[in-house]
Amino acid sequence: MPALLRNCLIALFFAAACLPISAHAKPWETLNTQQKEALAPLSGTWNSLSEQQQANFLSYAQRYPKLNAQQQQRLHSRLEAWSKLTPEQRKRAREKYKAYRKLPAEKREAVKKMVREQQQAASGIPPASPAQ
């Protein structure tokens, strides 16, 4: 076999090996019961999600049974809005969250308290007075 042809074949082999393998989109109907339960808020928009988004959310579904009831409820209430963010927004959110987790515990508590107060003010509920 001429060297040129051999080299071309090797190059083609590498090129083919490097080509991204695309995952196939999974229709909502093909998900199992546990996945459907975990991703219920996305049932209406699931089929329009990209293959990679679907793969990401399926990995959430794997962790869903290990969450407590409150965490499951929070996940459900936030999932749809989260799915509508751009990859860049999600990336920024992860960076901010990591920075937040690095704060000392007392600072995190202070942030949580501030957020609670803001939420209460927004909903018209007077903030709870500190215990005497």
Binding site: A3, L4, N7, C8, I10, A11, F14, A15, C18, L19, P20, Q52, N56, S59, Y60, Q62, R63, L67, Q70, Q71, R74, L75, R78, L79, A81, W82, L85, P87, Q89, R90, K91, R92, A93, R94, K96, Y97, K98, Y100, R101, V111, K112, V115, Q119
Partner: protein, 111 residues
């Protein structure tokens, strides 16, 4: 007056002349020939269309062709890796779940 000689005739004349050369010159010529053969260019037709509209020839040494192939493969790798990087988000399910189930609302972290 111009004398036109064919390649065959030139070859014959050169052969006869070579027989009259001394040993050291012959050795030098042999060395030069081997060197030239080692670095000879490979002529490969690369684009030949059936209608003859597009055709071309690339004259490159074997080594140059190898480098071009290495370059093509490296470029494909870079393109594919960039594609993966841009198109596919890595698995962040751990941190995503943490954000989505935290006490703080997601809005706190979204621009």
């Amino acid at each position: 007056m111009k004398i036109k000689l064919s390649n065959k005739e030139i070859g014959g004349l050169l052969n006869r002349a070579a027989q009259q050369l001394d040993r050291s010159t012959l050795d030098e010529l042999r060395t030069a020939r081997q060197h030239a053969l080692k670095n000879q260019r490979v002529e490969s037709a690369i684009w030949v269309s059936r209608n003859g509209l597009l055709h071309g020839q690339l004259q490159l040494s074997q080594r140059a062709l190898n480098w071009i192939i290495v370059g093509v493969v490296a470029s494909l790798l870079v393109i594919n890796l960039t594609y993966w990087e841009r198109t596919y988000e890595h698995d962040h399910s751990d941190i995503d779940i943490a954000i989505l189930t935290d006490d703080l609302p997601v809005d706190m972290f979204v621009d």
